[in-house]
């Protein structure tokens, strides 16, 4: 039997979905990122008021003081949808896995000097709990924000932060021989060490905020923007003696992740700031409030890290944050 192939007769009758065509044009095929990311959240005809927020709809624009004409405007410069997100993180974790395995196999943690081990224990491991709070904060954004692009970016950051907390845990398990003692000690520091208390207090304050965009701002811009240069960066560049290079390997995921995540965070803030003077005023007010609190909360840890230039790092981080904020289009001050 001969099969007649008539390609010309099977032209598509449309290029993409109507919601995608309305946003990006009907005349061309859309990318997978476009079809998978925009205008997915229900908009009309909500049947019931939520018992957990009876004044508002299930999805409601009024859960933040930020205003947008188009909440689906938050395009991710990385164009992550689920598949591209997990493929990217799978590559990153593969590199991280090799690093951890290498350090473990050759017993390289034993080459660290006592000071380096102490830095890990006192400055790095308690950050597991900060990452857990960051996980919850981004999960809050994914739950209660408005529009599918924002919810999508936030759930990826949620799972990222859990991943980071778990990588930090593995560093602890490497130095305590899998006993978990270093993690218990780090938790005790997080809960009781005076140097960590101001940061824990501020973290807990972030957990009771209800404006999801303010949470985004406080966590993903201000806290991350100061904590990464102050507390993570010293480990990326190999502190102290020989063994420092191994610490750089073990924290490489965190460094790469931070650069990647910042692209999304900055894009969202830039879009919100460009929307209106009202938004710019709101973002500036949040800057005033959160940056001062964060600098205060981090000051004792900067002191604790004085041998790693903690105070200078914090001052530089503060200036860098101001410059970043100016580029994003609102006032640092």
């Amino acid at each position: 039997m001969s099969v007649e192939i008539r390609v010309a007769s099977i032209d598509p009758i449309r290029q993409t979905f109507a919601r995608t065509a309305r946003r990006f044009g009907a005349d061309k095929p859309a990318s997978r990122y476009q079809e998978a990311s925009f205008d997915l959240q229900p908009r009309d005809n909500f049947h019931y008021r939520p018992v957990w927020d009876p004044q508002r709809d299930i999805y409601d624009r009024r859960r933040t003081a930020i205003e947008m004409r188009d909440w689906d405007d938050f395009r991710d410069p990385r164009q992550y949808y689920y598949a591209t997100y997990v493929l990217n993180r799978a590559r990153m974790q593969e590199a991280a896995e090799k690093n951890f395995e290498f350090v473990d196999r050759h017993g390289l943690m034993a080459t660290l000097n006592a000071g380096q081990v102490q830095d890990i224990e006192t400055l790095l491991l308690p950050l597991r709990h900060l990452e857990w709070a960051a996980n919850l904060n981004n999960c809050f954004i994914s739950a209660y924000c408005f529009g599918s692009p924002m919810a999508q970016g936030a759930i990826y950051t949620t799972t990222d932060r859990l991943g980071i907390a778990q990588y930090l845990s593995r560093i602890g398990l490497l130095i305590d021989g899998n006993s978990g003692q270093s993690l218990a000690d780090a938790k005790a520091r997080w809960l009781d060490d005076p140097a960590w208390q101001p940061l824990r207090r501020l973290t807990e304050r972030s957990l009771v905020q209800k404006d999801w965009f303010e949470i985004f701002f406080a966590q993903n811009l201000v806290l991350d923007g100061l904590i990464h240069p102050l507390l993570y960066a010293p480990f990326h560049s190999g502190v102290g003696d020989a063994g420092g290079a191994y610490l750089a390997m073990l924290t490489e995921f965190i460094k790469d992740w931070s650069a990647d995540n910042q692209k999304w965070v900055d894009a969202c803030l830039k879009i919100a700031a460009a929307e209106s003077p009202v938004n710019r005023a709101r973002l500036s007010a949040w800057t005033t409030a959160w940056k001062a609190q964060a600098l205060d909360a981090l000051a004792p840890l900067a002191q604790r890290a004085a041998h790693l230039d903690g105070p200078e790092r914090l001052a530089a981080a503060s200036r860098a944050l101001d410059q970043r904020i100016a580029k994003l289009g609102f006032d640092a001050a």
């Binding site: 009758i13 979905f17 997915l40 908009r43 049947h47 907390a165 807990e204």
Partner: protein, 522 residues
């Protein structure tokens, strides 16, 4: 073997469970600068008592690095198939273009529900104070987003060649019959966290998921739809995790406090009936819409609910739980459900985003065999009557708007089980108004939370009140035409009979069947 490290305790090997616990369980802490009940402020809404979140057994001990790795592997394979499907015009390999109508139902009804599940599990991932429970929910939140997106990418190709798939999100928000699944999910998402997880993780994912997934995925396999089969298989391991979460959460809540059982039983009664009513759409899909049939609704209900569900509730009886209220009625109705549902869509096909048709002689022989007690007796005569009218050029349409059940939003299209000539209709007074219901189950659910259900957005009422007009568009004055435009259903393209539709014409042309004599093409 640890030979190097002398200063530190020797590195003992951790089991997967221990490793997961070390890496994860200690992450949370009891807040002291802010009260715990402010940080997790939804836990007191329902009267459920949890004494110790540490008793939560992690249902799947998956660290993030392993999650990324496994899921990326799955995505590589899935997208390789989807790419090939597109390049090779895989949509031409399906059994018949009628099959695509099941995808229309799935894509406008289920895919938006997956989106709501994504957000619902984000809520739970934030609200549960134990990292074990929270992380399980967070992973499901991102999994559900995966399901939305892989379904979109799978359907993307069909949407380029068939009608009715083009505006699934707007249709889900507005189209009358889609208010059945929409209101189901919004009912869940607007509840407190424990009801949310019981409704979706247990009642839907554990108890009823096989009745959604099996019909659509097996239907796809039987009808040559490689794309849907592939995403179905690919999501199976996600679903296995979600089902485990459903079982773990119900056991955890029941074991925490003896007082919880009564609340959970109330949730199960409600969500079983809510879920069962949504499945009416699946019943007609199985019995009437698949060109190549998989199994009947009655068979599916018998295996997946009566047998599997029965043994599950046997298991749960030690906690004081019983089978959900009215389950016997769902069994009695299994002989009628699909026939009455398809009949309603045949009547109202002018306002649907998929096509309908009358069963062929062969189809009717199959239905008679699967439904020996009801089909020839009640439903064949009606179909033959419709056929006769169609042959005379007098195709029957119901010109009215149906009365909708205030709870499940299904039109009142079902009959009493002891008298198939009488419509099942229940009423209840509340605050001086009369509310209408399809069943005792729906009336009871309303009676339990009347203030919630009075606010339901009932499409038929909204059309009659003139609220279904496309924003920014001039009202045409004809409520039917206005409503169609509001639904984003394109008249003459997406709706009405398959025969004579653009879908049919395209299909016959692509398959080279349009040149054949009609008898051979059929």
């Amino acid at each position: 073997m640890n030979t190097q490290d002398t200063r530190r305790p020797s590195g003992k090997k951790l089991s997967l469970k221990e490793k997961y616990a070390q890496m994860t369980r200690g992450l949370g802490w009891d807040t002291t600068y802010e009260p715990m009940d402010k940080v997790f402020d939804q836990l007191g809404l329902e009267g459920i008592k949890i004494h110790d979140w540490d008793k939560w057994e992690d249902p799947f001990r998956l660290t993030m690095d392993a999650y990324w790795k496994y899921q990326a592997e799955k995505e590589r394979k899935l997208y390789a198939v989807l790419d090939a499907f597109q390049q090779n015009n895989g949509h031409l390999n399906i059994s018949d273009a009628r099959y695509v109508n099941t995808l229309k139902l799935f894509f406008t009804g289920i895919t938006p529900a997956e989106y709501n599940a994504h957000r619902l599990f984000s809520m739970l991932g934030r609200q549960f104070p134990g990292p074990g429970a929270a992380i399980a929910c967070q992973m499901q939140a991102v999994d559900e987003l995966r399901h939305v997106q892989t379904q979109i990418h799978c359907i993307s190709q069909y949407n380029k060649y068939f009608n009715g798939l083009h505006d699934h999100t707007v249709m889900n928000d507005r189209l009358w019959y889609l208010s059945v699944p929409k209101s189901f999910f919004e009912d869940a998402i607007s509840s407190g966290p424990f009801e949310q997880i019981i409704a979706i993780s247990f009642a839907l994912e554990y108890l009823l998921t096989n009745l959604v997934f099996m019909p659509f995925m097996s239907g796809a396999a039987y009808n040559g739809d490689m794309a849907t089969v592939t995403f179905g298989f690919s999501s199976q391991s996600d679903e296995a995790r979600h089902m485990t979460l459903g079982l773990e959460c119900i056991k955890f809540v029941l074991e925490q406090d003896p007082g919880n059982a009564a609340i959970i039983q109330r949730y199960l009664d409600k969500w079983f009936w809510r879920g069962y009513k949504v499945l009416g759409l699946v019943s007609m899909m199985l019995d009437y819409m698949l060109p190549k049939k998989v199994m009947s609704w009655k068979e599916a209900w018998d295996i997946y609910f009566v047998q599997n569900g029965g043994s599950l509730f046997n298991d749960l009886s030690r906690y004081g739980l019983r089978m959900p209220k009215y389950w016997e009625q769902s069994v009695a109705e299994a002989e009628h459900l699909s026939h009455q549902t398809w009949n309603a869509f045949y009547n109202f096909s002018g306002a649907a985003a998929f096509h309908v048709w009358l069963p062929s002689d062969e189809d009717m022989a199959w239905l008679a065999e699967k439904y020996p007690n009801t089909f020839d007796q009640h439903y064949r005569p009606r179909i033959e009557h419709y056929r006769k009218l169609q042959a005379e050029g007098k195709r029957y349409y119901n010109p009215s708007l149906p009365m909708l059940c205030q709870t499940c939003q299904t039109p009142l299209i079902f009959t009493e089980m002891d008298d198939p000539t009488r419509t099942s209709h229940r009423q209840l007074e509340h605050d001086g108004d009369t509310y209408h219901f399809c069943s005792d189950g729906c009336r009871d659910i309303f009676a339990g939370q009347p203030d919630k259900y009075v606010s339901a957005w009932l499409p038929a009422h909204q059309i009659l009140q003139g609220n279904c007009v496309e924003p920014g568009a001039e009202a045409a004055g004809d409520p039917g035409a206005d409503a169609l435009r509001y639904f984003h259903v394109v008249a003459g393209q997406d709706n009405l009979d398959y025969e004579g539709s653009p879908d049919e014409a395209n299909w016959l042309r692509w398959k080279g069947l349009d040149k054949m004599p009609p008898a051979a093409a059929a």
